[in-house]
Amino acid sequence: MNKALAGSELGASNTLWRDAGRRLLRNRLAMFGICVLTIVCVMGLFGPAITPYDPNGMDFANRFASPSLLHWMGTDDFGRDTFSRIILGARVSLQVGLVAVSVATILGTGLGLLAGYGRRVTDEVIMRGMDVLYSIPSLLLAIAIVAALGKGINNAMIAIGLVYIPIFARIARAAVLGIRNEEFIIAARALGAGDLRILLWHVLPNVLSPIIVEITLSLAFAILAEAALSFFGLGTQPPDPSWGRMLAEGRDFFRQSGWMGFFPGLAILFTVMGFNFLGDGLRDALDPKLRR
């Protein structure tokens, strides 16, 4: 009986996800986002193997070369190939995005689940803490955390991750509050399931869809935040390429070689747009009621 029930539940859930997948594939903007992100992921995964030139290799005879067949996106003030550096920069952006958002997702969702499912005191303490973190503009908080921990890509990842914890906590809490008194939770409790089991096996799967959507959208914000921190000189340190750093370096030479900053900016814009399109598509696919 139990097995049959579990089987039918599993079937229903499979259909739900399959339907969502089908809706996602029909969404043109989301598909555009997936295409862009596939290209960025290939750049990130195979970076050093597919760059036409050594991204950090200097060529002083070729400084400030404008875009040509040899250097598609021109070269910078050290004669380094901009296109190769953009390819390698994809790895930095993706790495920062993934680590930062993982930190935010795990800690934020965990805290949100606890707040929504726990006692009122737990809820109050956690959510007031989140209010405090949220009341400092996110980029300023990230700057302050990097200032304390020190410049560099690893600390930038931690800072961006910490900044987004309140968003995940709020979403997870709201989702838990919506289902905590549903019959299947009461039934699980009546069958003797412990709080942790209920949270992980019954509550978490039911709050996954808003969290998946938020993960995608947060990846977009995290990449923008990393670019901003690196632009300020607080993220990736030279000579490693990061799109934000390349933009900052290009800023000094905008008059003579605008491409130095133009192409990295375009790379950030398209990647962030890819995540935003995918996030919006996922939201529509996972919750058809929200469709506009």
């Binding site: 400092i136 302050a144 200032a147 921990l149 670019a227 814009l269 935003n276």
Partner: protein, 315 residues
């Protein structure tokens, strides 16, 4: 009006501000190793490091450090800058005005774009203008504002020579010059806000436009203008104000970036300079002031609900 709610809301804002002081205080505490050594560099002698530890009060227990720091804050004393030894407070006060002006004008620019675009695209969903608005808002939320700012400088300052590329003139000195200087930064920060708000205004308007009372208004022969402005928009406002409040975080973050790009003498630029110079008291002061301003704005937005919807009664 439910005064009890207002008092409750004020108290919770106070709790948040107190919490912010803890977070801001922790900035120095989480510095790996000795903050005084970090500030002075690896080659500083031990006496200098010890002197700075004394000056920052780092030799005392953490709780005592926090309480005395908080006590000084309550009296308007934000400590001394490590870089120039001057009091932090006057440096902060001088920066609030420019930052506030930039945030306010950016918000107005954002609203001026978002309202018409959001309403028109909700009135004609699926139309060319709706698709254009969707693309505009997607670009707006995805564009790095520092990149956009630089591009605008190249176009409007370097090529067309229409607007100054950076700098600031106080509005009291020369309002025309102030306007010329604020246009590019405010448009840069406002554009991002506009794109976020456009989506929500469209969505909120779509919700109310299909409501029965809007159809009734149309059925009784009211003109489209009156239906949209008096019946639909007014009811959508409560959701729109919520969203404006929520995206103020993004606006403030945007202002920080824009201040750096356009050399705007505001709190964001001060914070970044403080970080680059490892001037912790200055950084703490800046973050605290911005967070307090942000909390106040959120409080105002919450209280605005009463004005917009007299039916609201908070338990």
């Amino acid at each position: 009006m439910n005064y009890q709610y207002i008092v409750q809301r004020l108290l919770s804002a106070l709790v948040v501000v107190l919490g912010v002081t803890v977070v801001v205080f922790m900035i120095v505490q989480i510095v790996p190793g000795d903050p005084a050594r970090v500030v002075l560099g690896p080659y500083a002698n031990d006496e200098a490091v010890q002197g700075l530890r004394d000056r920052l009060g780092l030799n005392r227990p953490v709780i005592e450090q926090y309480l005395s720091w908080l006590g000084a804050l309550a009296q308007g004393d934000f400590g001394q800058s490590l870089l120039n030894g001057q009091a932090v407070a006057p440096q902060l006060w001088g920066r609030i005005g420019p930052s506030f002006e930039l945030a306010l004008v950016s918000l107005l620019v954002g609203l001026a774009i978002a309202f018409p675009v959001g309403i028109i695209s909700a009135l004609k969903p699926g139309s060319g203008i709706d698709i254009a608005a969707t693309i505009f808002s997607q670009i707006g939320v995805s564009i790095p504002s520092f990149w956009m700012g630089i591009m605008l400088v190249i176009i409007f300052s370097l090529n067309l020579k229409l607007l100054p590329p950076s700098g600031y003139t106080p509005i009291t000195e020369d309002p025309g010059d102030w306007l010329a200087h604020i246009m590019l930064p405010a448009f840069t920060a406002g554009f991002v806000s506009a794109s976020i708000m456009t989506r929500f205004i469209r969505s909120a308007m779509l919700d109310v436009l299909s409501a029965n009372y809007v159809q009734t208004a149309r059925a009784k022969g009211l003109g489209e203008r009156a239906v949209v402005l008096r019946h639909a928009l007014r009811n959508a406002m409560i959701n729109i104000v919520t969203i404006i409040g929520l995206q103020i975080n993004a606006l403030f973050s945007g202002v920080v970036i824009v201040e750096v790009v356009f050399s705007w003498p505001g709190l964001g630029r001060l914070a970044l300079n403080a970080v680059l110079e490892r001037d912790y008291p200055l950084l703490q002061g800046t973050v605290l002031i911005v967070a307090v301003m942000f909390t106040m704005v959120n409080l105002l937005v919450d209280l605005l609900y009463f004005v917009l919807d007299p039916r609201i009664e908070y338990a």
